[in-house]
């Protein structure tokens, strides 16, 4: 299907055969790197945090193991949580979150509680940088710092967790309706295609 789209159904391309001379063919599915070669140390993040690279290399050099604590992005997030949503529907990022950039971060309500889907609760912590000015030295997850909700680029908190299921319950627990999330399946699984998780569905979901 990919070949069809790229070589025969593209706006700018006169239809042609799929190239194959002297080229490796596509694999049957997405593979996680540890399905192909043995992996000693996992450094999460797309991209990761330079501090983690340093920590991991130092651990390697000292012959120690390197593991990430099982914490979530929310655990490192300075925004104010009240354990229930402000009400209303789940919103897409089509307008601005409420956030006064000059005030301390703790004056801003959690984006998820404002109604913008944020994957913080199910995503491994580690992206956050310490702030100098604005946050008086608090750590702020990167996307939150950019006034945008998390999309899960550090992957699930535990190996083998299912962020989609976990996120659905996180959403319900603050009183929002998880079914309102547009394009749920893709959005909640964006960074975990390997290990045979990303494979053709029996039938395309009607979102």
């Amino acid at each position: 299907a990919l070949y069809e789209k790229v070589y025969r159904e593209s706006k700018t391309t006169p239809p042609a055969e799929t190239p194959a001379d002297n080229l490796p063919p596509l694999l049957d599915r997405v593979y996680g790197i540890d399905e192909v070669v043995p992996v000693d140390i996992y450094i999460p993040g797309c991209p990761t945090n330079p501090d983690l690279v340093v920590a991991a290399l130092t651990a390697l050099l000292e012959g120690k193991t390197f593991e990430m604590p099982e914490r979530s992005v929310c655990d490192e997030c300075p925004l104010a949580r009240e354990k229930k949503a402000a009400g209303g529907e789940i919103k897409r990022t089509l307008d601005a979150v409420e956030c006064d950039h000059e005030a301390p971060w703790s004056d801003t309500r959690c984006f998820m509680e404002q109604g913008y889907l944020c994957l913080g609760p199910v995503t491994l912590a580690g992206c956050a940088h310490k702030e100098g000015g604005n946050g008086n030295g608090v750590t702020v997850p990167r996307c939150i710092k950019g006034h945008m909700p998390c999309r899960g680029c550090f992957g699930p908190i535990r190996k083998g967790a299912n962020p989609m299921v976990d996120m659905m319950s996180a959403i319900s627990s603050i009183g929002l309706d998880a079914k309102q999330v547009a394009d749920r399946r893709a959005l909640l699984n964006r960074y975990i295609g390997g290990q045979n998780r990303l494979r053709p569905l029996p039938q395309r979901p009607s979102r």
Binding site: A1, L2, K5, V6, Y7, S10, K11, T12, T13, P14, A16, E17, P19, A20, D21, N22, L23, P24, L26, C46, P47, R92, T93, L94, D95, A96, V97, H101, E102, H129, G133, N134, V140, R142, C143, I144, K145, G146, H147, M148, R151, C153, A182, D183, A186, L187, R190, R207
Partner: protein, 456 residues
Amino acid sequence: MTRITLAPVTRIEGHAKVTIDLDDSGNVADTFVNVVELRGFEKFCIGRPVEELPRIMTSICGVCPWSHHLASAKANDAVFGVTPPSAGRKLRELCNAVAYTEEHILHFFFLAGADYIMGPDADYSVRNVIGIAQANPEVGRMVVRNRHLGAQMLNIISGKTIHPVTAVPGGYSKPLSEAERQELLPMADEVLEFAKFAIAFAKENVFPKYLETLQSVGVIETGFLGTVADDGTLDLYDGKLRLMKPDGTYEEFAYDEYTAHIGEHVEPWTYLKFPYAKTWGDFSMDLEAPSGVYRTNTLARLNVCDRISTPLAQAELEEYREKFGRPVQLTLLYNWARLIELLYNAEKAILLLNDPEITSKDTRVPVTPRAARGVGCVEAPRGTLIHDYETDENGLVTDVNLIVGTTHNNAPINMSVKQAAQTLIKDGVYDQGILNQVEMAIRAYDPCLSCATHDL
């Protein structure tokens, strides 16, 4: 027949090999740059909410995520039919300028520069950035420091340097505070000083040594594509596309008219397609009589623009044009043009930071989903980047077409490699240095093949 394979090609972004076929007398019969990857963004973005695309498309490339991010945000503006407020646009431009400085430094010193600074025949163990740092510790230190400064600046402006999130449909998500502006200004000044140093250093120590190589390796004759403002000034963020023929005449068109001017040809030996100028007749990569072939990236942009808006870069452009004319065809001069652009972006970042509007809180307008088509385009460091989306009434994506900087250069890269191989390999005689010079012809284009096959 003998077949030489250079695999993998090093110090480029993405994966490729070069196949050189020699005939019975040991001369070059044919060459192929085989791009061995294909990724599929055009397929798997279908069905996604369009406002998520600026956050997905960045993953096309870890080197130029900003270009994809901004092109995608601009395509979103068009899909939603909105114009970002002035401060939102300027913050995007600021990110673009800073990202450019970081990337041009990366390419000149880490990727291509090693060939010039250390010499193309130097052993491969020192023909890299570590070698540069050992031979010129002071330069090495400055290079690393200035790249780091760029990354830090982006972190302050956007929170996330790589795979950014702040360019949103309708503008920019996070305003810049006065405190942040004050923090950025001295950093921007330092980068400008480095840019001035880099071009002076290269003109004195690097380019003169290789003038002869510059004139012979990878030389081909093509047209050029780039973006200019309404009055013909170089613009890397917004404007109209100008497609110039080898004789210097040109046609101009708006982003959404690109399909009338650009087609993409498929060859059986590479996943990467070959864009060509539709209006110039049938596509051919024949070295004697190429047709429809044009180039993008630094060399092209400095050929198509009439002038540069910042004083130091404009002075450099004048000197460069005096030496080499317009349009410049010498492939290895991409690197010279790259340093002029580095200077331009360093100057531009300071101008934007001194703009009183840059700290305005009015950075974004809300948008409402609708069925529409939107084309967004920016000049990525490696060439004109086109994102073309269509959506349904809920704002979910129904079609995506992407043409990426490096893709435009596919035909020229193949031609330059053939030209370089034909000039350098005679009667079956070749060595490391010669094969590396063939690779240099590729490196000059600073190709990013993972980008180029993104969607393909």
